[in-house]
């Protein structure tokens, strides 16, 4: 009886031991090591890094093993580690034009400077479940592409067919506020929103992006460009007086070209939606750019008619560490609150019963009473 709520300490220790055992599977099964996960489950590692907001394939692979493949647990592990790291400063904005794209496709133009490059993609594969995995030889490309790859949106921008990506000449990019270090209050700046979306849950953003394609916040998107590749990260070192490269990270970028707007004073232009995610994450980058554009309704004076346009709804619920934690906290004991509710419902029922009884006593017509209440 009362012992039911006792013994928490021992129960926890036993549960952890059991969990570790489940993680190993059968006792003679060989353990997967983290380099195997890092190398052979690259897309999964990307997702954990993106939503965990920490570019570290090794730690992401370790987190996935520790969490027994529970992605949201792995994300939580990485976040709880990341948050204890000191922040030294802000890197120079990465240059995705200079990024030698491993993959680059545009749905808006057949031929683009720098060419289209399919790269490593699941697109056009037949989704037939295979017994064994094969690794065919990859043909070495005969000519190394040295041609620069300007962004498709920059090509459109040259003719002012698309809105500028910065307000005006002479504008300097302000240091973005850091969502993880400064309190965020609504309404957010676009830079803050993009940070939140970039670490937001892939599934949630996918569904929201999808909803905008189905009439809940229509924004007529075209995939102007999707590119994937490694980019150099530079850090401005004040002691040296110049920026120094500190490493390379793999990124997926999506530039969505959207419905145009115009006014009496301004010629019609296409508008932009932007997505940028760690690693190989096209679905996420595309969803992010759809949602980014949808959330910019205020800039274009669009009417709010759908959930994906609602900044507080989207941003406050996009973080899967927060969402998973709060949903799962319902497993925690709620005896006290439930007891309070029990007390109230019992007294309400008693009062109801005594009202019923006193109504019945003078043999009033209960039938009409019920009808009146209906």
């Amino acid at each position: 009886m009362y012992v039911a709520v006792k013994g928490g300490e021992k129960a926890i220790a036993n549960a952890h031991a059991l969990l570790a055992k489940r993680g190993q599977g059968s006792a003679d099964a060989p353990r997967i090591d983290y380099p195997q996960v890092q190398n052979q489950m690259g897309v999964l590692v990307s997702r954990v890094m993106a939503e965990g907001s920490l570019y570290d394939p090794e730690l992401a692979a370790k987190a996935l093993l520790q969490s027994q493949g529970d992605v949201l647990e792995a994300v939580t592990l990485l976040r709880s580690y990341r948050t204890t790291l000191p922040r030294f400063g802000i890197t120079v904005a990465v240059d995705t034009v200079g990024l030698p794209a491993e993959r680059r496709v545009s749905a808006t133009f057949k031929d683009i400077p720098g060419g289209q490059q399919l790269g490593a993609t699941f697109d056009y594969t037949h989704r037939l479940l295979a017994e064994e995995l094969e690794t065919p030889e990859v043909a070495t490309s005969d000519a190394q592409v040295d041609e620069p790859m300007p962004r498709v949106t920059d090509l459109l921008g040259a003719d002012a067919l698309i809105e500028r990506d910065r307000p005006e000449e002479g504008w300097t990019d302000p240091d973005p506020s850091d969502l993880t270090r400064e309190p965020t209050v609504f309404p957010m700046s676009r830079a803050e929103r993009l940070q939140a979306l970039s670490r937001g849950d892939e599934g949630f953003l996918l569904s929201l992006g999808y909803s905008t394609q189905r009439g809940f916040g229509n924004n007529h998107p075209f995939a102007g460009e999707v590119r994937v590749g490694e980019v150099e990260v530079e850090f401005f070192a004040p002691e040296l007086g110049h920026a120094i490269p500190i490493g390379r990270i793999e990124l997926t970028e999506c530039q969505m070209v959207n419905q145009f707007v115009g006014s009496a004073e301004q010629a019609p232009q296409f508008t932009r939606g932007y997505g940028l995610v760690f690693g190989r994450a096209e679905r996420k980058a595309m969803s992010m750019s759809l949602v980014d554009r949808t959330l910019r309704h205020q800039e274009f004076g669009e009417r709010i008619v759908s959930p994906a346009q609602d900044e507080e709804f989207v941003i406050a619920h996009s973080d899967n560490v927060e969402a998973a934690g709060f949903v799962e906290h319902l497993k925690l004991p709620h005896y006290v609150d439930f007891q309070a509710e029990l007390g109230l419902i019992r007294s309400l029922r008693r009062e109801f019963q005594s009202r019923q009884n006193s109504a019945e006593a003078p043999s009033a017509s209960t039938d009409t009473r019920i009808e009146e209440n209906a």
């Binding site: 948050t83 209050v185 998973a324 609150d337």
Partner: protein, 290 residues
Amino acid sequence: MSGPRIVYNEGYLDELTKRVVRRALLKGVAIPGFQVPFASREVPMPRGWGTGGVQVTASVIGPLDTLKVIDQGADDTTNAVSIRAFFEKVAGASSTTRTYEATIIQTRHRIPETPLAENQIVVYQVPIPEPLRFLEPRETETRRLHALEEYGLMYVKLYEDIARYGHIAKTYDYPVLVNNRYVMAPSPIPSFDNPKMHQSSALQLFGAGREKRIYAIPPYTDVESLGFDDFPFEPQRFEQPCEICESIEVYLDEVFIDDQGGVMFVCSDTDHCERTLTARDHDRITEVNA
């Protein structure tokens, strides 16, 4: 690379983060009941499991402190055990289950039965810090309502309860007016505990990790549970005493004791129950010996 890659700071949070939290706490103390936004960090337990309370405790705890952690009033419920174990691991503070020994009491859903003292801090774990949230889901809107001291929505809700049920149908997280200015969510403590917040000798700190808000009630502050002249606030009461320690006027858990629907009512505050029982047994022994 040599040496371990993964190293944590004393008290888990880095020093700069503790400073951020302390600043928010100071602002909260200066404006009782006002929700201060802070850049809530991840901590190694899930959101909604006390991450706000953990950050507040981590920022105020020192090596000389004695920590007590309760969940549902009990020291030995699993999440309380887990949080206490976390601080034993990452901070040098000692821990206790005795309310009067603790300098910091982190709590979920209860205020201890033992009256609190001036040298004590109560840290509440808060799931939804905004008392108006279920009346108005938008942060931008509720912020304005607080700024204008516009609490009509809340009073209408309470009035509608009375019209529908003959009572204010709010049994926990019962809204309070702090220092005659801000309407505040006391976290899901039962309304039974609300009167303990009023003019408390202890400093009361509230941390909502997922919602990124901190608020506070300094010692000896007026905390009034909302009500009407003709329908004043009435805290819940229990008619029976605890069936273990025989305390009256305490909050009780209803515990099933068989599969026939038999129940017994026992103290929710395990420390209070143990101490009362020990003291009573001691008295009995003294009586017998006398």
